[in-house]
Symmetry: C2
Subunit: 339 residues, 2 copies
Amino acid sequence: MAEKIRIALDAMGGDNGVKIVVAAALDYLSKDASVSLVLCGDEESIKSHLPGKTPDGISIVHATQEVAMDELPSKALRNKKDSSMRVAINQVKEGHADACVSAGNTGALMATARFVLKMIPGIERPAIITQLPGLVNDTWVLDLGANVDCTSDHLFQFAVMGSELLIATGERKTPKVGLLNIGQEEIKGNEQVKKANELLSASELNYIGYVEGDDIYTGDVDIVVTDGFIGNVALKSSEGVAKMIRQRLKAAFTRSLLSKLAGVIAYPVLKTFAKTIDPRRYNGASLLGLKGIVVKSHGGVDALAFENAIAVAKTEVQSAVTEHIQEKISLHMNNGKAD
Amino acid sequence: MAEKIRIALDAMGGDNGVKIVVAAALDYLSKDASVSLVLCGDEESIKSHLPGKTPDGISIVHATQEVAMDELPSKALRNKKDSSMRVAINQVKEGHADACVSAGNTGALMATARFVLKMIPGIERPAIITQLPGLVNDTWVLDLGANVDCTSDHLFQFAVMGSELLIATGERKTPKVGLLNIGQEEIKGNEQVKKANELLSASELNYIGYVEGDDIYTGDVDIVVTDGFIGNVALKSSEGVAKMIRQRLKAAFTRSLLSKLAGVIAYPVLKTFAKTIDPRRYNGASLLGLKGIVVKSHGGVDALAFENAIAVAKTEVQSAVTEHIQEKISLHMNNGKAD
């Protein structure tokens, strides 16, 4: 029998904490026997959500602390050395797990993962990447908030990491990389973006040039590269508008008896539609650039969404994403970036 | 009889040019007799789209040139002194019109308007603002692309202008102003944002603090202030995701005979829903900070959307937005910004 892929879960992280994580773990394992899960957190709490004895494929590593959702990353790093988050990351560091997943405080996860796992040589900053639904094809965007001020070198490294992620996981053979910009200015963009454009143009990446915010959803570009401030705003704005549209659609179908009736008849169609843009299906953002696989789940999600984050982690383990990025970056370092 | 509000239209601007602008002008006047429109552009082309003799309320000012949608603003400024865009702006400058509307090249419109009309004293940069649909209330966002790199002073001025716009137009009595930021960083945001936060906190504006991308659509904030790069990306991403959702919804209702049938029954509901998020209803972005009212229509819109941009211009004339901003900014200059 092939060895199982071991994924450590921060069982206490997220707005809904242990209840959701344990439910997700149980449901995930019922569908996928190739994975074993290490639940990190308060043993008693975890057990109280498990049915009788601990099921096959699940192990528990006790942690005495939790990182609050609004805790300063520096404080979490200093004061929460036995947090469920840190214990989960330690599992990866010590080789007891192949990846970890947390729905906890993003800043603390980033800081702790960086401190414990260290960066891949040649990568200066970790970046957060996630998959977003497009009209035809999905698109990946990075960075989504790990780095507020990025140099052109950082943006270039993000492009290499994103590209390698899609190649390694088999999502794309030669991912189309676009640099996020705006169309208004005389000479587009700011200095960092212009310099990154030069680096990318001179690289062997499949760089298609500048793209704009709406290109994220057309499917014409596979990887959209930007700094963390802009990426975060793009992601959150998108989430905001999608949520508003879903709620308005729901409201339209519940306004009157007639519209409710129409809703009943249209229900199967609306359900199919809702599935295609269900944000839960896209839950699970990867922290790239670390010497280890760390996946961030949204904080407020349900078990189904958390399971998707586990699946993202599994895919990255299977496709040895860390090693691929490491190799590609060392090539770029040896070649000189603009060769 | 009260004097009519005179609005100059760049008749050749936009992807669809004179045909759409003339159609919009005719339809608009059929519904609103309080406005007269000055169509600026190639007289022959304009007349070819008018029915017989020029209707009441419409006048034509001939212009021999057009600004291309991809023309460099500096080139348009230098070489297109008789463009339909510039002629329309000149109408405002010379007092022949109270406002102008263009669907042309944004960068050229901004550069030309700034050159011809000049800035309001105390405002260093013009900003583009537009209204966006929220779940409960609409929200206004600025800047949307006029300025890539903004100082904290610029952001502060944007807040004052946006706030004054909503007060003057009667949209809000004490508009809630939010500063766009992200939630991830240890000490949030970059230097400019942090300094702007201090200026805004110390001001007499109804400043509610930092907001994130998804807050644009909740209706909890009236004015979202950000630099042009980020604002543009937020707007374009939102447009992209909304477009994708509309297309996916349409696809869901045309997949099969059954889903088409469901679509027929749900049609009135879907139509009501579509209306609430119809981007045409939100067409018309104002260029604030200039000594004159200039409204930018989306380039690729139809007549209905262009009419909405005319209505935006009319409202700003009626409520003397320029004078209000001028007054408020001079107050801030006299008080010192952080008093």
